[in-house]
């Protein structure tokens, strides 16, 4: 199901990008076919969006559970890596984080302990969002909260997190968020080589997740997810408890979104609570809906196309963006219920016809 032509094309494109970035962005950066650090940075950001979209597609496209709160997990990953970078800079280089200065603190709150250690931060990036996803999923799925109710609660949960993070006294930087990162794993943030390596790490992580999720959805477990989506009651009356497959894939989805966030924040150099706003989470769902649900490739393509369009447009007409996004959503809802993947068949037929009449 997942291993079709399109899946291979996306996998090969991601692999090619991962191999090409360090070369074309490194020694060949200033040549005609090189990748400038600015472009590398944008490619890296878009790769994390693709990973985020894939995480949502796993739970929405395959198990039929719509989350309008994936920004929560994305932001959790982002905040955790930001805490690591600030704490490491403070401990190793004596750079005082802005949030200490603003609050007049002489030291960071106790929960910042050990954050200078990268393995510790990485473990939290994988565990904490997974734990939050598991706890919330367990409560919801066990009580059979599903469909639009589940989506609304995810949105509310993310909104609550945003309000909390906007408070200045929580120790997460309040409305200013966190910025002024100096180094990540010894690499100076903002330097050309770091931008290229972060972008490479992002495409590599996206590729790895793409292959992993592809294997997962093609396995019998993946078929069970589709069964959950198609008819959960039937599955229950066949002797399966759908809570567990849903919970497993929901937790995995949360962790993948957090990894995406942890790769995104060092590349943009800032995180603030606006990442938790409803618009961000809805835009993730728009990527997946536009690209086509339940294919993984569609999610990646949707995220890449829309974010690339956004980067390009906001360069000269930032005011137009909300309108264009709304029009795209309408086109999908009215004309392409399966997103851009609906265009595949007509395109293939047209290509075949062109080949026949040269």
């Amino acid at each position: 199901m997942a291993v079709n032509g399109l899946f291979r094309v996306v996998a090969v494109a991601l692999a090619a990008l991962t191999l090409a970035l360090p070369v074309l962005g490194g020694p060949f950066a200033s040549t005609g076919f090189g990748i400038s650090p600015y472009l590398a940075n944008i490619i890296g950001q878009i790769a994390t969006f693709a990973l985020l979209a894939m995480a949502l597609d796993l739970i929405w496209g395959f198990a039929g559970v719509l989350s309008l709160g994936h920004g929560l997990f994305f932001a959790m990953g982002g905040y955790l890596i930001a805490m690591h970078m600030l704490k490491a800079g403070y401990v190793q280089q004596g750079i005082v984080p802005d949030l200490m200065t603003f609050m007049g603190w002489t030291d960071l709150p106790s929960f910042w302990a050990f954050f200078e250690s990268f393995p510790y931060a990485l473990a939290l990036i994988l565990l904490l969002p997974g734990l939050v996803a598991f706890a919330y999923g367990w409560m919801s799925f066990r009580s059979r909260v599903s469909g639009v109710y589940f989506a609304i609660i995810t949105q509310a949960l993310t909104y609550v997190a945003m309000l909390l993070m906007f408070r200045n006294d929580t120790g997460f930087g309040g409305n200013n968020g966190m910025t002024g990162f100096s180094r990540l794993l010894g690499m100076p943030i903002g330097e050309t080589s770091t931008a290229v390596w972060l972008a490479t790490a992002s495409t590599a992580a996206t590729l790895a997740a793409f292959l992993l999720c592809g294997r997962l959805v093609a396995s019998p477990f993946g078929r069970m997810l589709v069964a959950v989506r198609d008819d959960e009651a039937r599955l229950r009356f066949l002797g399966y408890d759908p809570v567990w497959p849903k919970l497993a894939v929901w937790t995995l989805s949360g962790v993948l979104a957090a990894v995406a966030g942890a790769l995104y924040v060092p590349q943009v150099g800032i995180i603030n609570p606006r990442l938790l706003s409803p618009e961000v989470s809805i835009e993730i769902a728009v990527w997946v809906a536009l690209g086509g649900r339940g294919t993984l490739s569609g999610a990646v393509i949707g995220a890449v196309v829309i974010s690339a369009l956004k980067f390009w447009l906001t360069g000269f007409a930032p005011d137009l963006w909300p309108f264009i996004l709304s029009i795209l959503v309408l086109v999908v809802v009215v004309g392409l219920p399966n997103g851009l993947t609906d265009l595949r068949l007509p395109c293939l037929t047209a290509m075949r016809r062109l080949r026949r009449e040269p």
């Binding site: 396995s219 019998p220 477990f221 078929r223 069970m224 589709v226 069964a227 989506r229 198609d230 008819d231 009651a233 039937r234 599955l235 229950r236 009356f237 066949l238 002797g239 399966y240 408890d241 567990w244 497959p245 497993a248 339940g294």
Partner: protein, 254 residues
């Protein structure tokens, strides 16, 4: 189970009372379905037929009464998946198959696999016995040539047979069919009657809810007529047609 189980009680419903708020769907129902028999439950709309199936499968919890499988397992204490694993299979009124999966995959998914863990699902389905069982059921329901098609493209009747096939994969002790021939063509109805009759087995009880009296007459060994949640007749279909009360509340209207 062996041949001697024929005629034994597969399911015993005792003093069942089901209410939805102030509405009493079933005031006090006792009912038995036996191994080796096809037992049809008929009655006007609102008689409590589907509610009875809902209680047996764990979808609805009764206010009072017990539902015993094999005279010892109280189904009211089990969850829906546990009831299914205990040997109760239910065919829903509207075809409930996994439309995005192939006919083959639908049947494979229905096969019992213990323990049913995520890990065992990930490990795969490469068991030759599984393939043999799927082939057997495919032949039984007459969908062998459609095995690789997505279930969503099947005709209405074929979906119903596939769903019955999914239940057969589980070798249920009690097979419950909720209006299996509703919306079917005459040819499909005849095929379904044939299929259901072939499913009769000494170690299986079949409980069918149906409005199609010709179909009931063709398949049922025994008929219970429900009216307002209470049985008003039990016996042969031919006798039911002759019964004054049954004619009055139900059959007379046809």
């Amino acid at each position: 189970m062996n041949l001697e189980s024929h005629g034994w009680q597969a399911i015993q419903v005792n003093g069942l009372r089901v209410t939805f708020g102030d509405f009493v769907a079933i005031p006090n129902l006792s009912f038995v379905a036996s191994y080796g028999e096809i037992h049809a439950v008929i009655g006007p709309n609102g008689a409590g037929k589907t509610t009875l199936l809902d209680v047996v499968t764990g979808k609805t919890r009764p206010r009072a009464g017990t539902v015993l499988l094999d005279g010892r397992i109280d189904l009211c204490r089990l969850t829906e998946p546990q009831i299914a694993l205990a040997g109760v299979g239910r065919k829903f009124q509207k075809p409930s198959v996994f439309e995005a999966l192939s006919v083959h995959e639908n049947l494979e998914l229905a096969l019992r696999l213990r323990p049913r863990s995520i890990l065992s699902e990930l490990r795969g389905w490469a068991d030759p016995r599984r393939a043999a069982r799927v082939a057997e059921v495919l032949a039984e329901i007459g969908l062998a040539d459609r095995a690789d098609d997505p279930a969503g493209v099947l005709a209405h009747g074929q979906k119903q047979w596939l769903e019955i096939g999914m239940l057969l994969m589980q070798r249920p002790k009690l097979l419950m069919l909720d209006e299996p021939v509703a919306g079917m063509t005459d040819a499909e109805t005849a095929h379904t009657a044939d299929l259901v009759r072939r499913l009769r087995a000494p170690d299986r009880a079949i409980l069918a809810i149906e409005h199609d009296m010709a179909f009931v007459e063709e398949i049922a060994d025994r008929v219970t007529v429900l009216h307002e949640g209470a049985p008003i007749f039990e016996g042969q279909m031919t006798d039911a047609r002759a019964d004054a009360r049954v004619r009055d509340v139900y059959l007379g209207r046809h």
